[in-house]
Symmetry: C2
Subunit: 148 residues, 2 copies
Amino acid sequence: MNEIEVFKDHLRAAGLKDTVQRKVVLNTFLNTEKHVSVDDLYRLVNRAKRHVGYATVHRTMKLIAESGLAREVMFNDGVVRFDHCYGREHKHHHHLVCTQCKKVIEFSSQALDREEQRILSKHGFESVSHRYEIFGLCRECRQKANRK
Amino acid sequence: MNEIEVFKDHLRAAGLKDTVQRKVVLNTFLNTEKHVSVDDLYRLVNRAKRHVGYATVHRTMKLIAESGLAREVMFNDGVVRFDHCYGREHKHHHHLVCTQCKKVIEFSSQALDREEQRILSKHGFESVSHRYEIFGLCRECRQKANRK
DNA sequence: CTGAATGCAAACCCTTTGCAAGGAA
DNA sequence: TTCCTTGCAAAGGGTTTGCATTCAG
């Protein structure tokens, strides 16, 4: 089942309608790389396609998140962004965020996952979601900084 | 050097003044447990003491963070909170956040720190700050859920 | 037809700032 | 006296909502 079918199923199951705007927002989201905000999507949608309102983009992204195709993440700027997660519900991935150039590098680590398991069971905690974000300077920005 | 002296030093070094309001906010913050928001502090300050404006609480917390006594953290609700960090500048600690009862459990792990180092050097990344938050159900809330 | 969706504008919520009045040094 | 600080109120910046209109089913 592909992403579009997943979303249609979600709409059907909730008794919601499959509209042009929702298709456009979903397709735009699927064509993005990681971590777009509502505002990013709003611009993208309206750059190429017919006009779709900000509120509709916002509400559609909530639906897409509910359907399991995206999840909300928030870095330190207080802006909600959407991370793709279809097909990797169980693949923990985390972020290295460059505070200089705003680049986001994803990483994952089995050692980390094992350690997380250990910590969870130690505290009797059941994980629903998690995030691990490291803020700092990426290789390129460090080099630029050193050249000065 | 205790927290109050650290803060006074910071003020002096920056050519700022040591006012009643700043003392009150600092003392209130020092008397809190973890993760208070500006709003929390505003209420606390004004519950017991003479009136201090919201903006002053906000600006003072920024100063306290600059002085190294607190750091800003943001969970998934978009609200800035302040974590105590005096005396543990280099002790990485992370959070287990119960989505049910809102309790926050801190944890730290050397294995995690080692793995983080490995990841950083692999990507040539220099860390400035980081956060690791696991959202889910704490032991107590899981038990409550199971009893139903 | 009928209830859901859209788009606009306004409401919200928290954070941040401008400014006149007050206060530490 | 000199700036810094305060408190208020208002401005910001993003998210969310109310409502009349439009549209999918």
